[in-house]
Symmetry: C2
């Protein structure tokens, strides 16, 4: 094919790596841009879990038609950020305690496998260290929101050690889902703060090329975090039961 020949010529003229900028040129459809806006809003808690997203209202507010908006909804539903109920609309998802357990089950598998693979090779772990420092900085300035974000990024970098595009995407979605969990239990400050020193410990093991040691620490880390979240869910459920009984 002529097309193939053409491609070869381009490859050979020294622009390799240019395709990384593909995302900048690639125009996105309206539906994708709308999904991006909604995704961000959900992440920052503008739309709270359980809330309904009206096609009419949001469509008017964003200036897009219902059809386009529905395409965006589909996207986010597939990411488990929204729950679609036939003839009732879409709602910001409320992760159940089973979801939390399942999310951590997957995180343990993915993240532990990723750090287990690190060796003493002269690999650069600057990106990970960067996220740890970001967390420290946020804690020092008392910026709790940034602290949570930095913590999420730290774990995404850990997962990225596996070097798999699909793993990155999966972890990205898991953490987005976790943000929903944080929103429904509030008090994220105390939650993230206590894990800061452990981030350092894990980073140390990684930089030392001790994958097995890092895995062990990380597993304990994830187990503790899960237990804490599940406990908070139990409290919530208990409180709800007491409230309904009192009424």
């Amino acid at each position: 094919m002529a097309g193939t020949l053409h491609d070869v010529v381009i490859e050979d003229s020294g622009v390799t790596g240019l395709e990384a900028d593909r995302g900048l040129v690639t125009r996105k459809s309206t539906a994708e841009r709308v999904a991006g806006v909604l995704r961000k809003r959900i992440a920052e808690g503008f739309f709270l879990p359980g809330g309904r997203l009206s096609e009419q209202d949001i469509g008017n507010a964003l200036g897009v038609s219902r059809n386009t908006l529905r395409e965006a909804f589909r996207l986010l539903t597939h990411e488990r950020l929204l729950a679609h109920e036939l003839n009732r609309g879409v709602f910001v998802r409320i992760p159940s305690v089973e979801d939390v357990v399942d999310i951590y089950r997957v995180r343990k598998i993915i993240e532990c496998a990723a750090v287990r693979g690190v060796t003493a090779k002269p690999a650069t772990f600057a990106r990970i260290k960067e996220k740890v420092d970001l967390g420290d900085e946020a804690a020092r300035t008392g910026n709790w929101k940034d602290l949570g974000t930095a913590n999420v990024w730290f774990h995404q970098e850990l997962a990225a050690l596996s070097g798999s595009e699909r793993v990155n995407e999966l972890v990205g979605r898991l953490t987005a889902e976790l943000r929903l969990v944080f929103h429904i239990m509030a008090e994220p400050r105390r939650f993230h703060e206590r894990y800061l020193p452990r981030n350092h410990e894990i980073l140390d093991r990684i930089e030392a090329g001790d994958g097995a040691g890092a895995e062990q620490l990380l597993m304990k880390y994830l187990e503790d975090a899960e237990e804490q979240l599940v406990g908070a869910y139990a409290e919530r459920a208990e409180a709800a039961r007491a409230a309904s009984a009192a009424e």
Copy 2:
């Protein structure tokens, strides 16, 4: 709330567990049903990788509007079965060799972690054995298509050992993507057949409660399969290069 009180009464009258049948009453939207049809067609090779799916043609053929069809397309695009190119349409995805490598990278992580967790506990592994037998049967009767299907199911059962809904979904998508790979290289008969005895070996280790042993076998299994597929890709690329040079 009155509603809560109502719920409590129902809970106590012995219908606990009924919500498991929720899926049976849940009607699906047209878009989801359309996506199901297309997904099946793609899996069985009716739509071949690289082929374009015309909104007009398929919409007419299935009797749904373009808008509804587009919602279905979004669903499948998100599953990596279709590739959406702005203003050009949707195409059945052509997995690259990088995709193959990445798919196997994830499979190694997921499936190995799943089998590693099995212990000597009196768990029932009937479902796995069932899939192995299915593969044997297909091979005996020379039904190569069923053989491939049975093999896929076998691996899905392995992954299911992790007991995670999200892992199951992920593996389901990975195998759907792999089907695309098989379609573009044809000759799936020989590919799957040679792995039949290894299925048995792995099942044996699992039934013996030897998770570590099973993991070792499975890892080798996946490495070999990946190597074979990558090799086939290289051949294909070589053939394509020769063809374009001759032209």
